[in-house]
Symmetry: D2
Subunit: 346 residues, 4 copies
């Protein structure tokens, strides 16, 4: 690539926006051309507008960029959106109409018929839906919810090898999933909260579209029965999920672990810069995976799985972990954009 | 009661032992006659031998009691045992042979054929097993594991009203369940651990004995399929559990909630001092129950339930919470002893 | 007392307001006649208007009280104010003008010339300032900031016995001091914050008024040099403070500890219901005091001190702990009101 | 450097030992030739012997290295010691006698007359003490305690520019400073501990040696009055310290900040691989520095300072933060070794 592709970040001051900056600041293909946020922030240098709460240092030249309003005239061929869902719908539509490639982490367009809900390792072929979009040069692509992504990456090798018919999942989700300021400290120190608004519905429905078959430029949802219970716990980053599954055919533990460990897909074959070396790591230690130890595996883009054992109600149970703001948000969107570049869509 | 019944506490310096002291220090029926612990502690004043880490103050006169070794000659008609399972087996046997009423929180004798695994609200009739014990005046009674008790109290009204055939449970368990020093802070701050040794087996098997039928002085285990996944999270006290159930017959949400709210049993009718006013509290707020807010309901002896909703795999799912060192350990044992007094066994 | 005195709570839905409810719900002298809050909450049942986040249960009859706006017409002779300082100034003035006895925890009037900054153990005589207030039957009395109160209670016995000339204090303050939602969990899990807006100024100035001499109905500030550094840490309740002092005359460790342990004042002598049995507890264990273990000593109204040792720069150093929302807020205000009742001012 | 220098790690399974591995695994000058630990671990593959609790992945080839006993025959010219002080004394002596260059993080030899207590930015000249050591080719060099290092790096520019006469410091120290398992979670969740055994003495005495003058191959301790209070809080990594100082001559805030920001020393000039670009970062945001946000600045080797303001008792106060297991332990030792290589001592 001779010259880097200019990109804009929408919602740049927020939690996901900050993660986009972290992942894009040294990116080999993309360079940040614009940081966009609400009217309240627009016009200020970024370091003033944002309460930077990442553990890495904010690069000085980015801190001094002037925040722009979220308008279609911003520079950048690709627009990464970390906007709040209360405003993402309209702004993303306007951007697409203006010819931008909108790569969004917001929930607004995920379930639209003509919008790919894209996980490059799973359904790269769903990009064919873009043909149906009526934005001219512009387009909208989305990535799944932060609690969905770990689950579908763990299920994909099982879907391919054995089929998956039923999934029961209980999550223990990290605080960064609620954005900033998000969860009040008084609600979570020495405590846990057994409810996250809208989350269970997302885990129960998004996988059906992701695993759906593309038939005549239409995604036919997969048939899979998913039941979810979502909890918030005192962890900064990294969603943990206890999963039970009923497969489509008999399998041994050995076969299942091999399916996970052998799993490679387009992003690995293409060598996309943000792709994990291995999408799934299986840990044999009985007390693994753990958020603080494994969330950063493969740059935060891999899913860690452990504790595969038989389930007396469904057939198998295991625990998974994935980084909710990297693989589950900014990193996932970035991988989508990289796939689109590699496939000649940008 | 004219005169209080003298009791001894085994393992008095440990986590459960300290809870026994807290609950017994102002008890209307019992008075602490002896504090027993390992040879290392014996001979020292209690306040020196123990690292008292309860939030309440250690009463001065108890702090000054001299710790005794765990020998059958200790004073006290009832012996509460919070011993580590590595030593509980032998010591409790010796105590029973010496004529003591051993009310144990340890796992060692729980599954023995002639030992009641007692939950006063559920299976008071199992005390009939005592006839089969060969200890003369002595006897051994046990209470279930700290993660089992919340589950069986939540299930009991459903068992009675509708039957329960399948149970899938994922726990988020508190740190105090691991004793002291227990879980290292480096293992749990900004982290969670998806494994607790031996715990899943206990939740999957103990309820079958507790719900078992007493037939000819023998407990015939209930038929119920339970699958458990146990996790440790950064909460001091209070085990939370996400439960899904398949019932024996159709029921509405209204019927289920009524079954919980109407649930009363022997301990409530007898007015036992440590009995909760209501064994089960159902919370209608969608983000309840929570450990820090609800663990102390009804003196830490009640189970809090919330979020009843349909489950697409089994039939219903809900979240429960119970205090693991009160209802799940010392308080549960104490209630067992109170029941035995009231039934004339002491 | 034949009949309980009706009281109103201003800011009843907030953090301090909830603590007022907890402490007043079974009070022997007072009964809650009105719960007042902002227009947004007014008209709703309290359990709907407030997000009750205390560990104790909200009594049903209080949960069903209809929240009223903060208007002078509310019932109640005494008005406890837990209002935010952005509105407390005007509302408290209006209440006093309407003849209410305003017992406030807000900072707005603390440093006013004619307003007692009252700590019943220290400066009950400052109530003479009330003569100068021009509210007719009404009056305003305040209690100090949550980080000041522990410090002045620890210093008072030293002031009396030896004099105190210099004080260096570094605080580690609890999350509840910031109200609700207050500190974001992402800012405090695995973290600490070395700044609390306005706090250092309060600790450096309020003690001068509290220890001031009443001369001709005027408080002449004490001469004492205080330097403070304030930090927020991941503790729910209980402010810890590392203090170094230079005394007015030489003293031994033994004398200092005796001064603390012998310390009793009006509230103890009068037997006020909320008064701690002993205002100061000295702990000899080298790793005490600790927030979770000692904040509830004497119903959360006592100060715990430990680690007295020589300081090579000033003369002595020690660590103190006090409960910031009980002794440092609602409980402190309540004790003020009890003192006023006992002194015939109500 | 044509060929990497082989090094051994003593205490390789422990907390500091693991950090040594993390920092050495891709080091440009050194390569790990031996992992040594207690007899209990010796003979096992490292991944079995150690409970690896770092957030980074353990490289496979290191996990498969066989742990050796801590004997002088181990390969490696340099020996990094993260041994527990109960055994470090003897083992390190034996290693030095066998001709090894012992670069130790243990406290045992720090205050010995002929052992440099080395901070490369401050007292590189103290390496002259090595002449007095009687180990032949072998030698022992130490780095200071994890709470001392941040303090001396922050003071050094002030010592040079203005002189420092008095220092009052209150620490809030991270859990990793206590090793593993170290602090029990029940002692620190929703809690803080106002005591760390031996720590205050170390902060009060080590700086005097570090800032001491080298006169005739002897270090004459600096004259500086330091008073310390040490606390443990619920932070994983990163010690925070509230510091007040009296300088040797008047200085303005601007001058002090410039002294910090301009501070560079030998490690920066030599470009040592582990040296921070800038030893001290001054933050202008009033709520900085914070452990989670700033501990990793400059690879965890820099000290962050903020909140410089006047102190009414001494003259200036500020807050500092440094990474206790990197700059304060393994990274500090590594920088010592790099300095020695660059100075031709290896």
């Amino acid at each position: 690539m001779d010259k880097k592709i200019p990109v804009a970040i929408l919602g740049a001051t927020g939690s996901v926006g900050q993660k986009f900056i972290e992942l894009l600041k040294d990116h080999p293909w993309f360079e940040i051309a614009a940081l966009c946020a609400s009217e309240r922030s627009a016009g200020k240098p970024y370091h003033e507008a944002a309460n930077w709460f990442q553990a890495s240092e904010l690069p000085k030249h980015i801190g001094e960029m002037i925040v722009q309003p979220c308008e279609p005239s911003v520079p950048g061929r690709i627009v990464f959106s970390g906007l709040d869902s209360s405003v993402a719908g309209e702004i993303e539509q306007a951007m697409a109409k203006a010819g931008k490639i909108v790569v969004s982490n917001s929930k607004n367009h995920r379930m639209h018929d003509d919008v790919p809900l894209l996980v490059p390792e799973i359904n790269a072929d769903h990009l064919a839906l873009l043909k149906k979009q009526a934005f001219g040069d512009g387009m909208i692509v989305t990535n799944p919810n932060c609690s969905t992504i770990g689950l579908v990456l763990a299920l994909k090798p099982l879907v391919d090898a054995f089929g998956v018919r039923e999934v029961s999942v209980v999550t223990m989700q990290a605080l960064s999933g609620a954005g900033y300021p998000g969860v009040a400290s008084l609600d979570i120190i020495d405590n846990a909260v057994p409810y996250i608004g809208g989350e269970e519905d997302k885990i129960e429905t998004e996988p059906l579209k992701i695993f759906g078959d593309l038939i005549n430029d239409h995604v036919e949802p997969a048939v899979m029965n998913i039941s979810a219970s979502c909890n918030r716990i005192a962890v900064v980053d990294g969603h943990m999920e206890c999963v039970s599954v009923r497969l489509g055919r008999q399998a041994s533990a050995k076969e299942i672990i091999e399916a996970w460990e052998d799993y490679r897909a387009e992003p690995q074959e293409m060598g996309l810069p943000t792709a994990p070396g291995r999408p799934v790591h299986y840990h044999r230690e009985e007390h693994y995976p753990q958020p603080r130890k494994h969330r950063m595996l493969d740059k935060g883009m891999a899913v860690s799985i452990g504790r595969l054992r038989e389930c007396s109600i469904l057939e198998w149970k295991f625990t998974l972990l994935s980084h909710n703001t990297i693989r589950g948000a900014a990193g996932g969107a970035l991988l989508n954009a990289e796939l689109m570049v590699e496939m000649g869509l940008v």
